[in-house]
């Protein structure tokens, strides 16, 4: 095997401690050390063995486009290839393997029933350009899910097509822009974003052509309502608020904020990524919100790393509904039809356009509807109750060891937020996170939200049992106590992972993105 000299792996796992020698292979029992695909195999191996083509008199017409040198494909047999990727997959960490407490990500279990439904041929094998009378079932899924989303949020309409949370944000802001322009108020160029909002919110507003102004948070971690009201005026297009916010708190003044924004002629966008904490309990429409995206892939299962792509439908108030994007599904004379540019006509002439070429993430629609129907209305209410209960259990179990800056603000919502205050000099959140890896847990979200120094944001979701939470709490308590005592071994953690602590600074400053063959040879498979 050739030695990788490209700087890809600066550190090797700790081995050979005590009386046990390190293994010759570098493997640790059945946890296998895996080389890069370019470093295994050889130039004489291929997966498929073609007979040598007979020499022909044909002349190439490629001209200057003809390849001048081998392209460097790795040479592996089929079993070698299968093993390579299977081994790599064993080093991956996902929700099917263990607790995944990433705050803001809602890493809940993805029920297998969802997957079974999404794979039904009538949903998985359809083409977006098929005649609508051949896809009535698929359209009914979209229509029924849309009805659930509108009902759960207390809004007027929903655009199903956006393909992720931030894509939904953009959809909502574009609708706000279209509504303002229709009123002749396109001069409103400022969107207010509180510090406790998701980081994508200011990016979305800027992308849609707005200037962003920050609104500070109060000491208790909520929007400073007075500061927000003071900033409202004829130049403000709207606000983007995350509720529950990234401090894990419910914005109690939401109704008051919405009324003030509307009175000033603006619109209210709500980042609904944290809808999991309030689904079945609060209807955003009752809070005066004009547009909100729903992360189907969080609130209704299938988080990232859990099976599917994203999907971010946007619900609209009556004021924004005329500007919602195409297409949408309607039921006319017992048939489901797609309302598109040709058919929208006068009853949807104000639409700002289209977010995607077709209809959105069919696979996610099926999974989300399956999740909703299998839980039922009462089950969804239980989801948010249990998500909030689990987060508060973690918050109150650890607030004697870790600093909980907003602990005094009352119960949290779906995520528990801690700071690095109280850790020993020179120790930070990163050391706690790396220590958790040694304990077998994926770390929590770190250094976000920015309003808290050295933030640790833990979102357990409702799908973890009390036993799992207790194990995590014991591990985090132990690591936090080591960090408070200044245990030097924590500064070099993880010690039991396949790789020791990586040099993130070097990796960011001088990234090595392409493998370079230390000794170029004639390549196989070409």
């Amino acid at each position: 095997m050739s030695i990788n000299q490209s700087g890809w792996r600066p550190t090797a796992p700790e081995q050979g401690k005590g009386n046990v020698p390190a293994s010759v292979t570098g493997n640790k029992a059945l946890m296998l050390e895996e080389a890069l695909i370019f470093e295994i195999g050889d130039s004489h191996t291929t997966g498929v063995d073609f007979a040598t083509a007979p020499a022909r008199a044909a002349t190439s017409k490629l001209g200057a486009l003809a390849r001048k040198a081998p392209i460097g494909l790795p040479g592996l047999s089929e079993p070698e290839t299968v093993r390579h990727y299977t081994r790599l997959s064993r080093q991956n960490y996902g929700i099917d393997l263990g607790f995944f407490p990433l705050g803001s990500c809602t890493m809940k279990h993805n029920p297998r029933l969802n997957e079974k439904m999404a794979r039904l041929p009538g949903f998985s094998d359809v083409h977006p350009l098929q005649p609508v009378d051949t896809v009535q079932g698929a359209l009914e899924v979209i229509h029924q899910l849309a009805h659930w989303l509108v009902t759960l949020t207390g809004m007027t309409s929903v655009a199903m097509s956006p393909k992720a949370g931030a894509h939904g944000e953009l959809c909502g802001v574009l609708a706000i822009r279209a509504a303002l322009e229709a009123k002749g108020e396109g001069h409103r160029k400022i969107i207010l974003v509180p510090e406790s909002a998701h980081g994508t919110n200011p990016a979305t507003a800027a992308f849609a052509g707005y200037s962003v102004e920050d609104i500070p948070a109060t000491a208790e971690g909520r929007v400073d309502t007075a500061a927000l009201k003071a900033r409202l005026g004829p130049d403000v297009a709207g606000v983007m608020i995350t509720n529950p916010n990234t401090c894990g708190l419910f914005e109690r003044d939401m109704r008051e904020i919405s009324d003030a924004v509307h009175a000033a002629g603006g619109f209210v966008y709500c980042d609904g990524a944290n809808f999991n904490a309030i689904v079945g309990r609060v209807r955003p429409g009752d809070l005066g919100i004009d547009a909100m995206h729903i992360n189907l892939h969080k609130t209704f299962s299938t988080p990232h790393g859990g099976g599917g792509p994203g999907s971010g439908p946007v619900v609209f108030s009556a004021a924004l509904t005329p500007y919602a994007p195409l297409p949408f599904v309607e039921k006319q004379d017992g048939q489901f039809v797609l309302v598109e540019e040709e058919t929208a006509g006068e009853h949807h002439a104000g639409s700002f356009g289209r977010m995607v070429a077709f209809h959105g993430q069919m696979g996610m629609f099926t999974r989300a509807l399956t999740y909703i129907l299998s839980h039922g209305a009462d089950g969804l209410r239980q989801v948010s109750e249990d998500a909030v209960l689990n987060a508060n259990y973690i918050l109150r179990s650890l607030d004697d060891t870790l600093d909980a800056p907003f602990g005094p603000s009352g119960p949290c919502m779906h995520e528990a937020l801690f700071s690095d205050s109280g850790l020993a000099e020179g120790f930070s959140t990163i050391d706690v996170a790396k220590g958790l890896i040694d304990e077998g847990f994926h770390p929590m979200t770190m250094y976000f939200p920015l309003v808290v120094h050295g933030a640790m944001l833990v979102e357990p979701t409702e799908t973890e049992s009390k036993a799992a939470l207790d194990q995590f709490i014991a591990a985090l308590r132990s690591v936090a106590e080591r960090a408070k005592a200044g245990d030097p071994s924590l500064k070099t953690a993880p010690h039991f992972a396949p790789r020791a602590r990586l040099d993130e600074t070097l990796a960011a400053r001088k990234p090595v993105l392409v493998w370079k063959d230390p000794a170029p040879l004639a390549q196989a498979a070409e």
Partner: protein, 123 residues
């Protein structure tokens, strides 16, 4: 030449009508290892408090605001090759950009070194 600080942890050295802007030692210590810096191009008009530059560390990306209004004379090209200058020498070699001040009276609203030290102490 005199040095002023903002509450957002930028400093500006003023020499005649030319200001040199960077981020404070305290700011770099809070950011952690800086991995990328984007400085404004010469000729760019900046108003006091507007986004002027971007600094990205292993922890976070942050905007750097202009402490005063003016026209950019040059950005510090050295930061493109070696962003670690911001960590090693934040208040000298790690400067971000120079600008011609359009309204020197804006300096009155900034802090001097002693006031800034007291401000940081209180954080």
């Amino acid at each position: 030449m005199s040095r002023f600080f903002t509450q957002d942890h930028e400093w500006v050295d003023v020499d005649g009508d030319v200001g040199t802007v960077g981020i404070s030692e305290y700011a770099q210590s809070q950011l952690g290892d800086v991995v990328f810096v984007e400085v404004p191009e010469a000729g760019k008009q900046l108003t006091k408090g507007a986004d002027a530059a971007v600094v990205e560390s292993v922890k976070a990306a942050s905007d750097v605001y202009s402490p005063v209004s003016g026209t950019v004379i040059e950005g510090n090209a050295a930061l493109a090759d070696d962003s670690s200058l911001v960590n090693s020498d934040a208040e000298a070699a790690g400067w971000f950009f120079k600008l011609t001040l359009s309204d020197p009276s804006e300096l009155d609203s900034l802090m001097d070194e002693a006031a800034y030290a007291a401000f940081v102490e209180g954080l």
